[in-house]
Subunit: 118 residues, 2 copies
Amino acid sequence: MESTVETDSYGRKKVVNPCMEPCAIEKGMRLIGGKWTGSIIYHLKDGPVRFNDLNRMLGGASKKMIDQRLKELESKGMVIRKVLSERPLAVTYELTEFGRSALEFLEQLRVWSEKQGL
Amino acid sequence: MESTVETDSYGRKKVVNPCMEPCAIEKGMRLIGGKWTGSIIYHLKDGPVRFNDLNRMLGGASKKMIDQRLKELESKGMVIRKVLSERPLAVTYELTEFGRSALEFLEQLRVWSEKQGL
DNA sequence: CGAGTAGGTTACCAAAAGTTAACTAATTGA
DNA sequence: TCAATTAGTTAACTTTTGGTAACCTACTCG
């Protein structure tokens, strides 16, 4: 993963390990870097949350977005959808172990972000 | 920043601190979550890199992308562009202190990402 | 001279992403 | 009966993105 540039005797440049396809950082970002994705994971940190509650917590995100993101996260195995009861329909979303493992990084991001006073 | 849902005596839900606009995580993500942005910062970690070298390191990213991202990062104060010499034109990009401060969690992201074997 | 380097810029286009608002069906509370 | 809740879905639309490839000036190497 360490790509470096070397200069040959004629002054020509060559890259030793170019990231031919997205490297780890890029892949990670594509997993949790989508709009609202990080926020959703973060808001699930304290346990299961219901769809509409999540919707209310993330003012600014539309239901469609939240729905879409939750489905992505579910398909990636970071979130589980649980039906508490049909009639009346009640559903919660919670983090899997994998999902939970992203919290560490997200927490650091949050701290950094707040420190910069963004 | 702690948004929670409360239920009143009638069973109605209210959110106490909704993230009305993007919260810290969201803002952070928008700063470094763009395609290739994290990778660019990460590849500048060992010091100044020239434009075309960066281009070679990030196989898969086009010049246009790199150019665009570098300008964004410059405008956000995370990267500085330095002209080493005109005639022949030589330019390097390096991280500012602010840019460097992002390396800490990018490194964590990298480790996490690799651990998942993505 | 012709090719290659450096550091970009430009136009064009296709595809993806995101927003809004309306609508669903079933249930409950006033 | 009216309103609101639940968890979504859908269509229509706009915006943003990202990729390609050509072009630019200036310089050096053989």
